[in-house]
Amino acid sequence: MQAQVLNIRPLARIRRSHRLPVPGNVLVRPGQNVSSGDLLAEVDLPIAQVTVDVVRALGLSSPQEAEHLIQHKVGERLEEKDIIAETGGLFSRVIRTPAPGLILSIKDGSVLIETQTRHIALEARLPGLVTEIQKNQKIVIESNGTLIQGSWGNGKVGSGLLVNKSETRDSALTPANLGLDTRNTILVAGTCADEATLNQAAQAAIAGLILGSIPSRLIPAAEKQPYPILVTDGFGLMGINELAYQLLSTNEGRETSISAVLMDARKGIRPEIVIALPVEGQTFNDACEYTPGQTVRVNAYPYAGETGIIEKVSTANVLLPSGLRAPAAEVRINQVKKVIPLVNLEVISIESELSAETK
């Protein structure tokens, strides 16, 4: 049975695609080194427009007459109060643009003006080398380093020196952990139990926050913070899984990038921590099956975040403690054997495997 894979890799070759919604202005070139958060490309998407009916405004008799009087062409930019058309003569009638913008079309005596746009900025989710640019829309960055995938993020990207403020993997971040020494750093903590601490972290100008878990009631508060918050294991107060915690602890002091994007299974995107290392890593394959001996993490209530070793796998239906029947594994978690459905397990790939590109 195809396994779900969670990448927690001390060293890997990482390849990530970045994509604008439409082709735009690319600001980097192949072979260029970028840092996490660097602007890769941008585009303006139109979101508001206004139509000026010149025929009606000037009391003309036909669209053809209007188009004869219109003083601009498609693609021209209009400034505040620019004249669009004028009848001329002694008692000239004038129609001006209601707002500055770009003329999109002139048709049937009407002028369509784009007055508002939405700026889309594509930032690098990890530091590395730009290896590929396609159609001014897709940019691929490759890097070598530690990769730790997470479960949830507040949608922001950031980087800084990694600082571990967690004495144990389930210690909570408190205001006492925040100070001048945490400015512009990526902080690690097991969990955070209150909104006030998140707010204070913003005032302390941290560059980002890595938590093992967060109570779901804090989702709105986390989403409005200006810095990225990445949660490795899920919702509650269970802390960081053991393997991720070890890796983060050993990498303390290193430049760390966090891409706290929301998980999108259809696009294969999930929140990630990348710690660039000056060593060549190997590419990896996310496809495998559940087998005894694998280290796994449970991703569902009530054991979410717990890690253990698979001792036995049954692809035939097994009776679960819930009374349901499903393929399951016997997993030893903290010396206790538990029967967990296979669909509730993610295989933690901590070894580099045969090369294959990831999306």
Binding site: V50, F235, S322, L324
Partner: protein, 574 residues
């Protein structure tokens, strides 16, 4: 009617869900079409495959192993048609619910005519109606255009004007759409589906096809008092297929070998509901519920007319959509055991991170069933608001989706359904335990006898016949006397009190005569009339009299709630 060997066709139906891919094999056995076997595997529409092809292969491979039949050749292609040696199958149909929820925008004229109809049409598609614009919309044209742009529609449904009726307003709306299209990059422009005044087709097409694809369908409202949603829905399915093919990698590939185009699951179930509404009790409708992982649906059928209603929430990837409007407190009211609001919220949000996970513990299962109850309540409420519930009640009520059909015990399933749906009158709850309803709907286009014969087989399980008396009496008062006479001549009698639920045994396959004597201020059927006796069919939980009242109110106190829940499970034989 039995099916001869000469005219029998073997058929594989693939059902592509967001969590599971199922392959069902149907063939003739003992002169009747039967479901022979089913193979199920995890869907591969997400990482690492991002294509349904792999899960289809795995599901078919499983089917091969279960049946011992060779279905695929050495290149892993499905053998179509079947060969002299028995390899392969004759027909292939596909249903799917794994697509992306579409952002829908509707345009129509009057709120109680074409706009209302096109909004009902939108409800049949897996997606969200994000914006709706009618001729009486008070917003400026710029504001309307902005609203459509912000909606980021995948599809615009455009209705308006009876045939040879209103034209100017319809054409103005087409102009507005063109303006909006001009604002969008070409690759982001939504398709347009026109189902309005047929006389305007050339003019509308001429305007819109300069900017985007436009599909034409019969008028959804050809006359002011006539609505043709089902006819239009069939055409719409093909448009939806085309759009979903861009989101479901592999769908267009499998479509090339299907006997009929792939069909959205809800629409396929609608065919079965329509059929049953014609052949069953003409005074009653047929209802079908399906709570899936990414989406849910309720389909109501009465006298050959159906109303397909999809909802963009479910117990897997659809959970985050369901939680957007709060609802944690309402879900908690269904939990018999005390669980803090915080823990419940965390458990539910955790599900949004692992949509394919299943309940591993008893408590996790109770939480999932509590969510299912609340979803059922809301779907019924929405149907009431849309005016599609019939006053005469429903029989049967069909139930699909592993959330509703896989609970640990039949009593758990029954209580979940009764608490959530809170049906009226007398009805039979039928479980689609193999999740084949949608497949039968799709198969109907290829072999009409197949769904009819499979529906009559043991593929579907009668959970219970349920009697729902409504009483104004006080709790604890006797509200109805019940006598069930068995085929053997024996009988069982019980006096049911208000606030209780009682089960009388009657096995699946057996029938009985049910005599009901409502007491003071109690009635059963919506009409208030009660026949001498009702012929009832047996089920796993027998005949159940649900005297708990409507609407069902759960105690706020956790201990009382747990006590009550346990008493009901025991009463039902759990």
């Amino acid at each position: 009617m039995s099916t001869t060997v000469l005219d029998a066709v073997s058929l594989i139906a693939l059902d592509l869900g967001s969590v599971n891919t199922r392959a069902h094999l149907f063939d003739v056995a003992d002169g009747q079409y039967r479901i022979i076997a089913s193979g199920s595997t995890a869907a591969t529409i997400t990482a690492p495959f991002f294509d349904i092809g792999e899960s289809i292969y795995q599901a078919l491979d499983r089917l091969q192993k279960i049946t011992g039949r060779i279905l695929m050749d050495k290149e892993a292609n499905l053998i179509l048609p079947s060969q002299a040696g028995g390899e392969g199958v004759d027909r292939l149909v596909v249903t799917y619910s794994c697509g992306k929820p579409l952002n829908l925008v509707t345009f129509g004229l009057l709120g109680d005519a074409s706009l209302e109809s096109v909004n009902r049409l939108a409800a049949t598609i897996f997606g969200k109606l994000v914006e709706s614009i009618g001729v009486n919309d008070r917003r400026s044209k710029d504001a309307q255009a902005d609203a459509v742009l912000n909606a980021k529609p995948d599809l615009i449904l455009f209705a308006g004007g009876t045939d040879n009726g209103a034209s100017r307003s319809v054409l103005k709306m087409a102009d507005l759409m063109c303006r909006v299209m001009q604002m969008m990059p070409a690759e982001e422009r939504p398709a347009v589906f026109f189902t309005g005044n047929q006389a305007l087709i050339p003019a509308v097409k001429d305007k819109i096809e300069r900017f985007t694809t436009i599909d034409m369908a019969p008028n959804i409202r050809p006359q002011i008092d006539r609505e043709e949603i089902e006819k239009v829905g069939t055409v719409l399915s093909q448009v939806v297929n085309r759009i979903q093919s861009t989101h479901v990698s592999g769908l267009d590939r499998i479509a090339t070998i299907c006997n009929v185009p792939p069909e959205p699951s809800a629409s396929a179930v609608g065919k079965i509901v329509r059929f049953l509404s014609v052949v069953n009790d003409p005074q009653k409708g047929v209802l079908s519920f399906d709570i899936g992982a990414g989406s849910s649906s309720v389909i109501s059928g009465f006298a050959g007319k159906t109303s397909v209603n999809t909802f963009p929430y479910g117990t897997g990837s659809g959970m985050s959509e369901f939680l957007k409007k709060g609802r944690i407190e309402q879900i908690r009211q269904w939990l018999p055991k005390g669980i803090s609001l915080e823990d419940l919220r965390d458990a539910l949000y955790q599900k949004t991170l692992s949509p394919s996970s299943i309940p591993a513990t008893k408590e996790a299962l109770l939480i999932e069933l509590a969510v299912a109850r609340q979803m059922l309540r809301e779907m019924v409420h929405e149907l009431r608001l849309r005016g599609v519930l019939t006053a005469g009640g429903y029989d049967p009520i069909l139930v699909s989706g592993s959330t509703l059909t896989r609970a640990a015990s039949p009593q758990q399933i029954l209580l979940t359904l009764l608490d959530g749906i809170q049906p009226a009158g007398i009805t039979t709850l039928v479980l689609d335990k193999h999740s084949i309803l949608a497949s039968l709907g799709a198969a109907a286009a290829v072999q009409p006898f197949l769904p009819v014969q499979v529906l009559e087989s043991t593929a579907f399980v009668n959970l219970a016949t349920v009697v729902n008396p409504v009483s104004e009496g006080r709790t604890g008062a006797e509200i109805i006397k019940v006598r069930l006479e068995y085929e053997s001549g024996k009988f069982a009698e019980v006096d049911v009190k208000k606030g209780t639920i009682v089960a009388l045994p009657l096995k699946q396959g057996e029938t009985g005569k049910l005599y009901l004597e409502p007491q003071h201020r109690t009635r059963i059927e919506a009409s208030g009339l009660v026949e001498d006796f009702y012929k009832v069919n047996g089920g796993i939980c027998g005949v159940v009299i649900d005297g708990r009242g409507r609407p069902l109110n759960m105690p706020q106190d956790e201990l009382k709630r747990e006590e009550l829940y346990n008493s009901w499970v025991i009463a039902l034989g759990g």
